[in-house]
């Protein structure tokens, strides 16, 4: 058994949802979003390796092909670059593809069609064409995923104009952002995290949209601003909750989308706290942490009362073994340590 996953699954089973409303697992929330989109719009289709296997891709697509037929929900050959172009062509011509991948690592095969084609058409066609497609994948971690199965590549794509990038962290957002992504007229990338996908939360029924480019406060506090997305942000929340015992509190901002980026909420919080910690599931260098760090230094300089700090991945590939992994990935304790340093000014 995938050991790390088993651990998380047991944690999720014991997780209590305290808010009012219908509790749903992350995976069920995603499947509900796809179901609603397929019901709503006959132009939507879903494809990916194994989407109509009996368990579905990670359970996200289970039985969708039975309900909507294999013309609209189908398994694909292992041809990521070609199929990305095929999706772009289909999107240019009146449909709305949702292409699912197990891992972002496999998107690296698609960069030509994704970056040089899908992301460009609207611009180079002078607004006469659009490419409403969604490319979804789930960042891996643990169980020997290693350097070719746990890359978080959102930072590589941040600088590509024409793309939108979503990084959900809760079941509510996963559903609402998926629906927004499908409704959007641009190529939209969604990067889930396999560990975030093990959680559950309150999810309303029916269609709702979480707007792209709007962050949200997960915690309100005084001492610093923590900003980021996805699984690393959840770790930061665990860290700051523990630090409340030491009298430390923070504004925790879940950006939810990296592109477009909600600058306003970052600067609003920075004005109050004067300190910013950026966290990301990807490399610290030249990625999300670097971009937001620079933005804060550039436009928020006069509000800063200490150096910007970042917590992401080191500039080395992901090792496969679990012992090395534990030194590689940031955890709650490492985040707490950085927060303490920032607060005490050391």
């Amino acid at each position: 058994m995938p050991w790390a996953e088993a651990l998380l699954t047991s944690k999720a089973a014991g997780q209590e949802v305290t808010e009012e409303g219908r509790a749903l697992s992350y995976v069920d929330a995603l499947r509900e979003a796809l179901t609603l989109a397929l019901e709503l719009d006959p132009k939507v289709f879903v494809l990916g390796q194994g989407v109509n296997d009996s368990p579905g891709m990670f359970g996200v697509t289970t039985d969708l092909h039975k309900k909507f037929g294999t013309d609209r929900v189908f398994d694909t050959p292992l041809s990521e670059e070609g199929l990305t172009g095929i999706c772009a062509g289909a999107a240019l011509n009146g449909t709305r593809p949702v292409y699912l991948h197990n891992r972002p690592d496999f998107l690296l095969l698609t960069f030509n069609q994704l970056v040089s084609h899908a992301a460009k058409f609207h611009y180079i066609d002078n607004g006469q064409s659009n490419v409403p497609m969604v490319v979804w994948s789930a960042i891996g971690r643990g169980w020997g995923s290693g350097s070719q199965h746990s890359q978080a590549i959102q930072g590589f794509l941040l600088g590509v104009p024409g793309l939108k990038i979503i990084m959900p962290s809760t079941p509510y957002d996963a559903k609402g952002l998926m629906l927004s992504a499908i409704a959007d007229n641009n190529p939209v990338l969604i990067f889930e995290h396999r560990w975030a996908m093990k959680t559950k939360g309150v999810v309303p029924e029916g269609i709702y949209h979480v707007p792209l480019g709007k962050g949200i406060y997960r915690r309100r506090g005084e001492d610093l601003t923590i900003v980021g997305t996805s699984h690393t942000l959840s770790l930061a929340i665990e860290a700051i909750d523990e630090l409340s015992k030491e009298g430390i509190s923070a504004d925790v901002i879940d950006l939810r989308t990296l592109k477009p980026l909600d600058e306003e909420i970052i600067f609003e919080s920075l004005k109050k706290t004067g300190k910013v910690l950026v966290v990301d599931t990807g490399p610290e260098m030249a990625g999300v942490c670097a971009e937001i760090g620079c933005l804060v230094a550039e436009k928020g300089f006069h509000d800063l009362r200490g150096p910007v700090r970042r917590i992401g991945l080191p500039d080395s590939p992901v090792p496969a073994g679990y012992t090395l992994e534990q030194f590689y990935f940031p955890d709650k304790n490492r985040i707490a340590k950085v927060i303490r340093e920032m607060v005490s000014g050391t």
């Binding site: 058994m1 050991w3 790390a4 088993a6 390796q49 194994g50 296997d53 009996s54 368990p55 189908f74 398994d75 694909t76 050959p77 292992l78 041809s79 990521e80 670059e81 070609g82 690592d105 496999f106 095969l109 643990g142 169980w143 020997g144 995923s145 290693g146 350097s147 070719q148 199965h149 080191p314 500039d315 080395s316 590939p317 090792p319 496969a320 073994g321 679990y322 012992t323 090395l324 030194f327 590689y328």
Partner: protein, 341 residues
């Protein structure tokens, strides 16, 4: 329903043996397959302990392809493979201890715990490495062959990959280049009909894989991957071709994967293939098949088989103990070798 019956498969005629087989050679092939099978079963039986924290892709049922091909290679010939590494690695002579240490994430694993089961390597025996990205090794091996040609090295380069890899563009780009430059490379496509849970028929329109390769200008054939001597002869011919400047060969070796795509056990109960299909293919066990043949020829018997098994069992036991008692990597081991000096 048996979607892929053995009897429906048309194999290319196996090349004729050049000379009579030496009994030791045949017994060696048998032992090598048996050893791989037993190692796979030992890993499988301990996988639930959750101490091998690595994905595993077992090759039970497909041993003959690894063994038949590697028997035609020299130590100096190179092999690369896909995620399904273990059979290829062991057949090429890769160290069992280093492999198990890698599965146990130990410092003395063949990749120092950076790779796991999908990234084995043992350069001392010409097992050059593997990629967990499907088809990733195909261009790389083609490049190895190009380098061998440029440097006038007497080295044959072999890459193992699955049927699904042939859906990737990079494979055909590589074949085109290899044919264009007459490279000393052998492409071994292990067709087991499935990519995870997706059958060949939902991924490809029914054109024979080896015929596509033929259309790219490669000598191509489809062989019975349950018969190690078919595999061996096809590989031997391909090696001769590569060595004599005759260019690349494409071999589609058909053999069934008895276990699930990854992990321990058979997963056909989940519905993607009929458990009856698995059973039907088990009738064509490459190891049992050769055993019966050798018994008929009076070259092998029960007693010899059992002592062979005991020997292998001891080796396996010792290798597991070695792996389990080996040290873990430490934090300082994380950032070495990001760049070469």
């Amino acid at each position: 329903m048996i979607r892929y019956p053995y009897k429906d498969i048309e194999f290319s005629p196996a090349p004729r043996p050049k000379k009579k087989y030496d009994p030791d050679f045949l017994i060696g092939l048998y032992r090598s397959m048996l050893r791989i099978r037993m190692i796979q079963e030992a890993i499988e039986s301990r996988y639930h302990e959750d101490q091998m924290k690595s994905p595993i892709h077992l090759v039970i049922g497909q041993e003959a392809t690894s063994v038949g091909v590697c028997a035609a290679l020299r130590n100096t010939d190179q092999v690369y493979s896909s995620h399904r590494t273990q059979g290829n690695y062991l057949a090429k002579g890769g160290s069992l201890k280093a492999m198990l240490s890698e599965l146990y994430c130990r410092l003395n694993g063949c990749a120092g715990s950076r790779g796991g089961s999908m990234h084995l390597l043992d350069k001392s025996v010409g097992y050059a490495g593997s990629s967990a990205i499907v088809a990733g090794s195909v261009p790389v091996t083609t490049g190895a062959a190009f380098s061998a040609q440029l440097l006038k090295k007497d080295q044959v380069n072999v890459v193992f990959f699955g049927d699904a890899a042939t859906e990737e563009g990079a494979v055909w780009e590589s074949l085109n280049f290899a044919a264009l430059k007459s490279l000393p490379v052998i492409y071994i496509c292990e067709n087991n009909f499935y990519s995870v849970c997706s059958s060949l028929e939902v991924r490809q329109p029914g054109v024979d894989i080896y015929k596509k390769a033929e259309a790219f200008g490669l000598n191509s054939c489809r062989i019975d991957g349950s018969q190690v001597l078919h595999v061996y002869e096809a590989a031997r011919e391909a090696v001769e071709r590569a060595q004599s400047g005759g260019g690349p060969t494409f071999i589609e070796s058909v053999a069934y994967r008895w276990r699930g795509h990854g992990g321990a056990g058979d997963d056909s109960a989940s519905g993607y293939r009929d458990p009856e299909e698995v059973k039907a293919w088990q009738e064509f066990c490459p190891i049992e098949g050769l055993y019966k043949e050798l018994v008929k020829q009076k070259q092998l018997d029960e007693v010899r088989k059992n002592s062979m098994k005991e020997e292998i069992q001891e080796e396996i036991q010792e290798a597991f103990e070695h792996a389990i008692n080996s040290p873990n990597p430490e934090e300082k081991d994380l950032s070495t070798h990001v760049y070469s000096d």
